[in-house]
């Protein structure tokens, strides 16, 4: 069935024209689909580069790659019909390195994505404002270099540079059928393309290599100044000077970062590296003073370590870059992020704790508790491996979908039937240690087990404890009849 473009209320000459245009395209597309179904399938996957996707349906970003903007319900059509690649109604994500296209539906989580490296783009057409364009869905057209095997030129693959790089180019049109900010996207597209962030990464990584090489070379000869005039690092004075310079540059780096929030975003990567360095320093610090350090110092150093490690996310999804899909993307990003804290917490984490961790990792662009709650509630609609759960007591936690209550109860039962526990019961702290989770979480599990009749409570000046439920074993008509376990215990 042929679909018409979105102009149901405006049957003018222009809509008729666009109908015709669409018909032409659709006709050729449908004909080729009928004739060459296999080629279609092959062509679709072969034209664009493949992009990796996480288990929650978010694209895996490259080293240093930052998201800039996002549009929904976008079709990508290469104008060369030979390739038959028509990607319909997906999410188009602009990053500093690539244009990523994801099939988006609220029901299923995308397992793969297509991408066009910005390096392969040779020209971006400016949007022509004509009368026709007022009635059409907005379009962004750009020219992409194509290598000899018919695929988008991928500068990261080794073969690109030698074998006919960019021998041909194909015009690709992105049709934006959703309600996104198309002009804003175009501006950011130009900015990202001109910034050429992918090149600076290469230069810096190769640059540091050459610097260390030259350092070694000049180390052999004597004298304070090396052959190229810079002060040589030699002796204790040299070490001190090197430290000093490093601290000064760190200080300056921090100052620059904090002056301008935008600059902070780009410095975010540097900050993470700094955090990593400090962590290494801490690690070496603690290991060298094994005898002299007391427990308190060790504890606070470990805290510092953990705190630094939690600065993890470089590319926070913001309301700006995702527009109307803010909660959806946030929800997926949260699902990705929360996996590691979940593992460390033993499979269940308090919602409030998760909120603090997530915001701390984002650094700037903090989210409100409402956003957090909405993001978690959206998980029901997606196929992500985590879920939100509310206990009877009102406590809300995030847990793995694979988490099994039955398994936890089995572990609690084996704990509470140990000889010592049969006599004195268990406290939430005991359960926490055995289950490997926080005491508050353990208490929730114990309360749930109690409501299922597995345990019963004992409140006394000693505190709140739980025992295995032996009430069912007692026969009220024969109260003095003693069954084996009782005799042994009481």
């Amino acid at each position: 069935m042929v679909k018409y473009s979105r102009e149901p209320d405006n049957p003018t000459k222009w809509s008729y024209l666009s109908m015709l245009q669409n018909l032409e395209q659709k006709k050729s597309f449908l004909i080729s689909r009928k004739k060459y179904p296999k080629l279609i399938a092959a062509g679709m996957s072969n034209f664009f580069s493949k992009a990796e996707v996480t288990s929650s349906g978010r694209p895996v970003l490259l080293h240093n790659e930052v998201e800039c903007h996002l549009l929904s319900a976008v079709d990508l059509e290469p104008e060369d019909h030979r390739h038959f690649s028509l990607l319909k109604s997906g999410l188009l994500i602009l990053t500093t390195h690539r244009l990523i296209w994801l099939l988006s539906s609220s029901a299923s989580t995308p397992t793969s994505a297509s991408a066009i490296p910005l390096a392969a783009i040779s020209h971006i057409f400016s949007s022509k404002k004509s009368l026709k364009s007022v009635f059409h869905s907005p379009r962004i057209r750009f020219q992409v270099l194509v290598s000899s095997d018919g695929r988008v030129f991928d500068p990261s693959s080794g073969s690109g540079s030698s074998s006919g790089s960019g021998s041909r180019s194909v015009v690709v049109t992105a049709v934006i059928r959703g309600k996104g900010d198309c002009d804003g996207f175009l501006v950011k597209f130009w900015d990202s393309w001109r910034a050429r962030v992918w090149e600076t990464t290469k230069i810096s990584s190769s640059g540091s290599g050459s610097a260390s090489g030259s350092g070694v070379a000049t180390g052999i000869g004597g004298g304070l100044y090396s052959s190229d005039g810079s002060v040589r690092m030699v002796g204790v004075a040299g070490i001190l000077r090197k430290e000093q310079e490093m601290w000064e540059s760190t200080d300056k780096s921090l100052q620059d970062a904090f002056q301008d929030l935008n600059a902070l975003m780009s410095k975010a990567k540097e900050m993470v590296m700094l955090a990593e360095k400090m962590r290494q320093k801490l690690l070496s610090g603690t290991s060298s003073q094994t005898s002299g350090t007391n427990d308190e110092d060790m504890g606070s150093k470990e805290e510092m370590q953990d705190w630094l490690l939690s600065v993890g996310i470089i590319s926070p999804v913001t309301k700006e870059s995702a527009g109307a899909l803010y909660h959806q993307q946030l929800s997926r990003q949260l699902a990705d992020f929360v996996r590691i804290p979940l593992e460390r917490a033993g499979g269940m984490i308090n919602l409030i704790d998760a909120y603090c961790l997530f915001n701390r990792a984002r650094g700037t662009e903090l989210i409100s508790p409402d956003d957090m709650l909405q993001a978690c509630s959206l998980w029901e609609k997606f196929d992500v491996p985590v879920m939100l759960r509310k206990f009877d007591s009102g406590v809300m936690v995030i847990q793995n979908k694979s988490h099994s209550d039955e398994e936890v109860f089995a572990r609690i039962k084996s704990l509470v039937t140990k000889p010592e526990a049969l006599r004195t019961g268990i406290s939430p702290t005991d359960a926490a240690m055995t289950l490997g989770i926080a005491p508050a979480m353990a208490k929730e599990h114990l309360l749930t087990a109690e409501s299922k009749g597995l345990l019963c409570r004992d409140i006394s000046p000693d505190g709140f404890r739980f025992y295995i439920n032996l009430f069912p074993e007692i026969d009220p008509c024969n109260m003095y009849l003693v069954k084996v376990p009782w005799k042994l215990l009481f």
Binding site: G425, S451, G453, C456, R457, D458, S460, P476, M479, F490
Partner: protein, 179 residues
């Protein structure tokens, strides 16, 4: 076997959760049932007729496991007995509870048997004599709570088995049997 005076305590008396009011319905129903039986048994053997909530009651504490029933728990168990008709609150504030380990009807039957056994069918006795007279020694009537006795007698009077009248002295009443 643990004892409280002469009373043999069941084994679960040393199970600490027994002394904490359980929230889960199934468990709590069982717990209440066990306490009801225990209270009735204890009172019957120790001949206790009234439980005063504000006083120490030996059955409600266990020094071995160091647990005591809270006021809330005591009230809950006694209320359960009242609901079953095996006890009655003596005051609105629920501080004192009359325990009927024999129902009033049962006491009435005991009195009738007592009268028949001793050949008192047509004689007259004071209420006090029924309670503490020589004939009642060794029977269940010995030391019976006065309130309960009077209630049982009134029940029998209603059935026409006896007549209660005021005695010569103001502090005692007399009973004429016509069993």
């Amino acid at each position: 076997m643990q004892k409280l005076g002469d009373f043999k305590l069941p084994h679960f008396f040393n199970y600490p959760p027994y002394f904490t009011l359980q929230p889960v319905r199934e468990t709590s129903e069982k717990q209440i049932q066990l306490w009801k039986e225990l209270i009735l048994d204890y009172c019957r053997i120790q001949k206790i007729f009234v439980i005063r909530l504000e006083e120490e009651f030996p059955l409600f504490s266990n020094s071995v496991v160091e647990r005591t029933l809270s006021h809330e728990a005591r009230e809950a168990f006694l209320s359960a007995l009242v609901a079953e008709g095996r006890a009655e609150w003596l005051d609105k504030g629920r501080r004192n509870c009359l325990i009927l380990w024999h129902r009033i009807q049962e006491w009435a039957d005991i009195i009738v048997n007592f009268v028949k056994d001793n050949g008192f069918e047509d004689s007259v006795m004071t209420v006090e004599e029924i309670r503490s007279g020589i004939e009642s020694r060794g029977t269940e009537l010995q030391g019976i709570d006065r309130t309960i006795l009077v209630r049982a007698l009134k029940l029998l009077e209603h059935k026409g088995k006896l007549a209660i009248f005021k005695g010569t002295s103001t502090d005692d009443e007399g009973v004429k049997f016509s069993v």
